[in-house]
Symmetry: C2
Subunit: 265 residues, 2 copies
């Protein structure tokens, strides 16, 4: 998503040029290109897929909507397996229209996981619940903290359900380092993503994430937290930013790799 202006073939090519050997993919461009075709494309390019984003949106009360969401998540699991990644990121979904009940919405996620977790496990795919920043609690994700995500995940085996740690969503939370330790001790950090926090936030607050190093987050410290918790998996850079999307994608990918290296090496 950081370079969503690139087609998948362009992305594979740009990754090779920038020395990036692993890539996180989103479902929409994968479906457009074809799931099997994408799997072949990345394999031929020598890339591995870190995670597939995203399943989730499991908070509907309407039975038909709910069944459709579950079916869509089973498809997402299958897509992840086809792409050869072991991790499907889940964004839980917001409050249904007219509802003010965050607790009930969170409980419906647990109900949905009870169906999806074994299905994912059978496909060799781990579900990674991603808490989103509390500013999305109403309309996008009722799971706002790592503690809430782990409360849900821990009802299931770690090889079926864990969490995604994204600096953009958790950086403000003084409880998050302890929750990262909790997640790591149980082998439940299934994905780690970086974006920086910049202000002012744009209207709708979706596409104003900061490029590595441009914002207020001590990214080195957060990387240290997940490493201290035993995480050895890939580090994804996931920046939704209109400014980056308006630029040449190859240039943005190269810049991102540079920023990553100067932030951590």
């Amino acid at each position: 998503m950081t370079v969503k202006q690139l087609s998948l073939p362009q992305l594979a090519d740009a990754c090779r040029r920038s020395g990036v050997g692993q890539v996180g993919l989103w479902r929409e461009p994968v479906q457009e290109h074809g799931v099997a075709e994408t799997a072949k494309l990345v394999r031929d390019a020598g890339l591995t897929v870190t995670t597939l984003c995203r399943g989730g949106f499991l908070t509907a009360t309407d039975p038909e909507e709910r069944a459709a969401a579950l079916a869509d998540n089973r498809r997402a699991v299958e897509e992840a397996a086809t792409l050869g990644t072991d991790t499907l990121v889940l964004v839980s979904g917001g409050l249904p229209p007219g509802s003010k009940d965050l607790r009930a919405a969170r409980e419906r996620i647990a109900d949905a996981l009870a169906e999806l977790a074994p299905y994912a496990g059978a496909h060799g795919v781990r579900l990674a619940i991603e808490p989103l920043h509390p500013m999305y609690a109403a309309d996008r994700c009722v799971v706002s903290t790592l503690a809430q995500a782990l409360d849900l995940a821990e009802r299931f085996p770690a090889h079926q359900v864990g969490v995604t740690v994204d600096t953009y969503h958790v950086w403000w939370d003084d409880q998050a380092p302890a929750q990262i330790a909790r997640a790591g001790a149980a082998g439940r950090i299934h994905a780690f993503q970086l974006a920086d926090w910049t202000t002012p936030l744009p209207e709708g607050v979706l596409n104003g994430r900061g490029q590595i190093g441009d914002g207020a987050i001590d990214l080195r410290e957060w990387k240290g937290h997940v490493e201290a918790a035993g995480y050895t998996g890939p580090v994804e850079v996931e920046v939704f930013n209109e400014g980056l999307w308006a630029r040449d994608g190859r240039e943005v990918l190269a810049e991102t790799a540079d920023r990553y290296h100067s932030a951590f090496l």
Copy 2:
């Protein structure tokens, strides 16, 4: 602030017409009208002042800036005393330019409170630390949760330092009800404010608060939490909303009173 389009004399008049006997004031219009003059105006109108908003902005590292902030907060305490309110709301301030250290910024607030709390106490004024929504952590308020606000407040006597509970800022937080109980047990709920959560958020995320009943927050439940914690003080409606500000202020005040009554009575 909900009807900031009204001058203070217009506000006093509109409160009388709407049967509102208590009002929260902000420092800027009070200073413009004159502090003593405002005190006389509200007294003559039979109004009492619930809180003065706002002191704070105590996170600067620069010594001169820091001294200026402390002096300004002492003035705010004096203004509150002159207006006859016992409560000064504090918004802590964001990260200084270039800093990524939320912990250090929070500790500087504690240092500042060590100077300001006794000064406030001597003037019969309680400081009410207001946690703001985590989306303001970088640029406005490094205190993002009631737990953090209470960790700061509890270093001082309750008659000097407590917290402000504002539904807009805490509604997403599943730990907030327990923290309200903690605050109430210690007599530290010094202010309670209502605004609703509506989306999409506007650019800058400052002036998109929802009128009572328009959003995702179960306001009745939150009012129940503070009441169960022993709070018997005033309930302020504090809605920053460009749409409300563009309308006739008297009409907005009457609407707000109506909304309040239909939400709770």
